[in-house]
């Protein structure tokens, strides 16, 4: 009786640990560096810099989870407005086509290029490197080391920065 009670508990604990480790591993794969020295006209305060860095990293962790698992929930919080709409459309269409995307070993070199006089919008240039995998169900159909350039607009909400616009460009 005692053994039967313990086994599910141990299994649940093991599952939780495995999921936590997997989640932490995925999170640690997203590296973000931010250079805000060229931002103008407003100087980026150190507290703002930390907040933008933290929330942009969270956004990419969430984006990677959403595009791999084809679920919309991870988009709530980090994304708003057009960025959220485009990602939602991508995921809804991936659900129909059966495709998934996986971003592995992400490294983002962020540069703040514009910070509004009143601090209500910041524009970032992201040079993102990593392994992009596209899967049809479980079948890997594309696996490529990519370097992509993104123009990003972030705006502050009550207690964090949100990605409002997110657009890949061929070059800056």
């Amino acid at each position: 009786m005692t053994i039967n009670m313990k086994r599910p508990t141990v299994l649940a604990l093991a599952l939780f640990l495995a999921l936590s480790l997997h989640s932490n591993a995925a999170d640690s794969e997203v590296q973000v560096q931010l250079d805000s020295h060229k931002a103008a006209p407003r100087v980026v305060e150190s507290l703002t810099e930390r907040g933008v860095l933290r929330d942009y990293r969270i956004a990419w962790i969430s984006l990677a989870k959403a595009l791999e698992s084809n679920t919309l929930d991870p988009l709530d919080g980090p994304f708003t407005d057009e960025a959220k709409r485009v990602l939602r459309d991508t995921i809804v269409n991936q659900q129909k086509s059966g495709l998934r995307q996986r971003y592995v070993n992400q490294n983002h070199q962020l540069e703040a290029v514009f910070y509004a006089p009143e601090g209500d919008v910041i524009e970032l240039h992201d040079t993102a490197e990593g392994q992009l995998q596209i899967l049809d169900g479980e079948k890997l159909i594309h696996d490529e080391h990519v370097t992509l350039h993104y123009v990003v607009l972030m705006t502050p909400s009550a207690d964090h920065w949100m990605v409002r616009h997110w657009q890949a460009v061929s070059h800056f």
Binding site: D89, G98, A116, D120, E123, I134
Partner: protein, 286 residues
């Protein structure tokens, strides 16, 4: 054993030889909302995948034929991946860029501003195309601030990375300040309410009444002659033989009034914010 290995190797080589290499030709670039043509080499059946911002498609195709990607699938600016799988998978990518500006987001601060304040009004303009893509192509935005028929500020600013901005000193008279950003045929307007600055030459007069001293300001203006907004607090301080008493009174119709309880001779002073007014000496109650 050796013979079976050789046969297996021969079969593998035969398969490799028969597997055709598919070349994919994609456009160098596409403007959002336009169609695009993708062509492939080879022959036979294959699967084409299109993965981009807002789109994920899987289609069966015949190799060697041109495939049209419809305009509604290319509305969002960004990078699109084309993957063609037959025996093996090959890929190519192309970029969709924003179309011409069709809308402008214009952020202006603050909503109320005192007159003649240096760098007190600022605005940021961002251009978007009809599909809500950020337009990154160079363009010039004209910012203009007008109060009544007077142009307070006018400046042309080059959009850089899709953004243009200005910072300006507020006008000299209270009232509505029209703030306009214009880009080609697009124009967006915001209104900032200009209010009087700090009071200037704050003066009071007073008279003894049966219940104390009634004091009131002369009409309160800023240094440019604008009436200071109703609701602005004016502080009256009376010092007499019994000590000091303070009364805060809001300006109503340009004047602040207060009834001060003092039977002895009193010295009354007035202040509003950081501005001090005159002192008034009122004799003791007869």
């Amino acid at each position: 054993m050796r013979l079976s290995f050789l046969i297996s190797a021969a079969i593998c080589l035969a398969q490799l030889c028969s597997a055709q290499t598919v070349d994919i030709h994609v456009p160098a670039s596409v403007v959002a909302g336009n169609e695009a043509a993708i062509s492939t080499s080879g022959s036979g059946k294959a699967t084409l995948y299109l993965s981009g911002p807002g789109i994920s498609r899987k289609t069966d195709i015949d190799l060697g034929h041109e495939i049209n990607v419809q305009s509604q699938d290319l509305k969002n600016a960004g990078v699109y991946f084309v993957i063609v799988c037959s025996d093996t998978c090959r890929s190519a990518s192309f970029y969709v860029s924003a179309a011409n500006p069709a809308a402008m987001t214009f952020l202006v601060h603050p909503s109320r501003v005192p007159v003649k304040q240096d760098d007190a009004v600022s605005g940021v303009a961002l251009a978007f195309d009809q599909f809500h893509n950020l337009v990154l192509a160079p363009a010039t935005v004209n910012f203009q601030l007008t109060a009544g028929n007077t142009t307070v500020y006018s400046r042309s600013a080059r959009m850089q990375d899709g953004v243009a901005w200005f910072r300006a000193t507020s006008g000299g008279s209270s009232g509505a300040l029209q703030v306009t950003a214009a880009l080609d045929q697009l124009s967006t307007r915001r209104v900032v309410q200009q209010v009087a600055s700090d009071p200037c030459n704050l003066r009071i007069k007073g008279q003894r009444t049966s219940s104390g001293i009634l004091v009131e300001t002369e009409p309160v203006h800023d240094c440019a002659g604008n009436s200071v907004s109703d609701g602005t607090i004016v502080t009256f301080t009376a010092v007499d033989g019994k000590g000091k008493s303070t009364v805060d009174a809001p300006i109503k119709q340009g004047v602040a009034r207060a009834q001060i309880q003092a039977s002895n001779q009193a010295v009354i002073s007035v202040a509003s914010g950081v501005v001090l007014g005159n002192e008034l000496r009122v004799g003791a109650q007869p």
